[in-house]
Amino acid sequence: MQRIGVFVCHCGTNIAGTVDVKAVAEALGREPSVVTSVDYQYMCSESGQNLIKDAIRDYKLTGVVVCSCSPRMHENTFRKAAAAAGLNPYMVEIANIREQCSWIHKDVAEATEKAIILGRAAIAKVQLNAPLVAGESPVIKRALVIGGGIAGIQTALDIADAGFEVDIVEKQPTIGGKMTQLDKTFPTLDCAACILTPKMVECAQNELINIYSYSEVDAVSGFVGNFSVKIRKKARYVDETKCTGCGLCTEKCPQKKVPNEFNLGMDNRRAVYIPFAQAVPKVATIDADYCTMLKTGKCGVCSKVCTAGAINYKQTDEIVERQYGAIVVATGFNPIKVDKYDEYAYGQSKDVITSLEFERLTNAAGPTSGKLLRPSDGKHPHKIVFIQCVGSRCTPEKGKSYCSKICCMYTAKHAMLTREKYPDTEVYVFYIDVRTPGKNFDEFYRRATEEYGVHYIKGMVGKVSPKADGTLEVQASDLIMNEQLRIDADLVVLAAAIEPDKSARPLATMLTASMDTNDFFTEAHPKLRPVESPTAGIFLSGACQGPKDIPETVSQAGAAAAKVIGLLAKNKLTCNPCVAHSDELLCNGCSQCANVCPYGAITYIEKEFVMPDRSKKIRRVASVNPAVCQGCGACTVTCPSGAMDLHGFSNRQIMAEVDAICK
């Protein structure tokens, strides 16, 4: 039997104005188990708290009910007060008689009656409360960053800067990501490589940063502070420790017909390659799909020319298992495939290209060494049409429902740079809206039209038709002039929507991190916790969370790093004690609870039990990791036998409240 104290707060006139607090205290004093019931001006004041503390000692209270404002206001205050008086803080329950009673009712008798019932419900609940102790779990002081683009790089650098070890896992042979493929960056027109490569080198040189390039995450287990990750280092057939990056093999390799993905297939590379000059790590990789040696066993040229003896045709995938306290997802984005939009003729004409291909065509390290030439005939284009929103802002059947955010700005950049380098070229941009919210963004766009004479036309292109003379007839409606245009363009550039990288979905499953319908990672709170995943210990950096430009990505990367540092700086994590727990004698191991747990907090253990016939039997039972469980209770309802229950909100407690209310 509990010994319960009831404390009714006046909250000045906030409560006492509509609720007869004396009557409430008196009525609740008559409830079973209640040994003291008093009212006071302000329970949350220091003297109010002292009243509670003294009563806990004087009446040897085992439970406390405070009838006051919302528990969202002062639950913690009263819990702390109870703890100070030696009572377990989780033996305190709040009856919300302000926000949910005195403030919404006018009739005193009615409000008083309701306050008594709410008090009774809290008493009924506290009768069944059990002391709870928050658990602790240690923190491994190392972070994993998945994805080595600008987001991953910045996060890793910031974490390392705080003195913590960071591993970067990058599936390509080099870090750098999409930004390495860009020419200039808006709105300042810095050279992308000039600002990115120093950061890549910094990563390589930082002793606290370890790069797993050409590697992927295979499996993740564990929980916040204590993840265990299996990393697959894919066989690159080159010993990273020996390769000097001299590039001799990449020049001598006889297999010259490999589409170069770095230039989006617009030129070729060899079967052994270094993606680009400033790659980090600068190590060659053999493409097993094209290497004659690996396919037929005959060739071996690279091995012969390598002075470092780094070539190893027998290399196999290697699995490394490492422990981390936090994981940052920075898996980035890709442009969508635009072949399906027949009207834009991407598949029909080489001269219809995507914006990323345009970047490569204007980049000095690109397939045309920076000269803007038509892919079909290598001639200089004199009329270029840019089409915005290709695949963005569509119904789900037609494409992506979201705005890809970066297209307006980079198209302005492309238009501007084209006009600057080739003033004889007419540039048309067909747009629905021009979206330029960002520092100096609209100014940038204005310059494109005002200073560079780019023709911005409001209206979507309806059709691109390749003509016999090699030009592309672009048919569009000018919505402002209300006329239909037919432009014979030499080159058409499509601003393709961007989508999360394909590797994100399986990764989310491994991390038990949630995603939205577009496969972008969901943040813990869209406004207040934008760089955390709802799964504790998983953080989000860059475009894996939603379309972002470079400045935004870098600031989010820094924010994610700050959150990781905040976590790794702790030696131990205190857990919320109001978590699920499984009664092993009732659990039958059916796994339904694990299926609904959003955090992967439930695992199954094989345990020996004495059966009813006194024989011993190994049974499979659920086990909740209290460090991972967040206490939502989804499992408790899924469990038919009631083996799974929630501390602080148990089945019995909630039913006791129901009973008290309906009485």
Binding site: S70, P71, R72, N96, R98, E99, Q100, C101, W103, I104, H105, K106, D107, E110, A111, E113, K114, I117, L118, A121, S514, D516, T522, P534, C578, V596, P598, Q630, G631, C632, G633, A634, T636, V637, T638, L646, F649, N651, I654, M655, E657, V658, D659, I661, C662, K663
Partner: protein, 145 residues
Amino acid sequence: MQVNEQFTPTIVAFCCNWCSYAGADLSGTNRLQYPANVKIIRVPCSCRVNPMFILRAFQRGADGVIICGCHPGDCHYTTGNYYARRRTTLLFSMLDYLGIERNRTRVEWVSAAEGAKFAATMNDFVAQITELGPNRRLEDLRCRK
């Protein structure tokens, strides 16, 4: 239908801690009135509401039960209300199938910002239950006073 003038229904509202309970608090902060016969039970998430609780409320004399949670997509625990949505849909459908008045139960998504919606929902629900009259089909006569 004969409506007893004196009838004031008992209504149990299960509110998730993060959205709807906060929404209820907000309607209090804004002094938006709704009838006193609505009593709120705080649960961590709408997915914590076990069908047993709902039936229990009816057994003990509740005339209506309403479950409030975060809007789909806004769950503090990311997925809880999606499970709650399926469970309540199927359970309420079953109650309807057993001939229990379908309007005695309701699910509403109320965010922490929707104090006005909370009050309006409760006013509407109380009116609906008052019109339905006392719960007779799913009460336990032993619990009647």
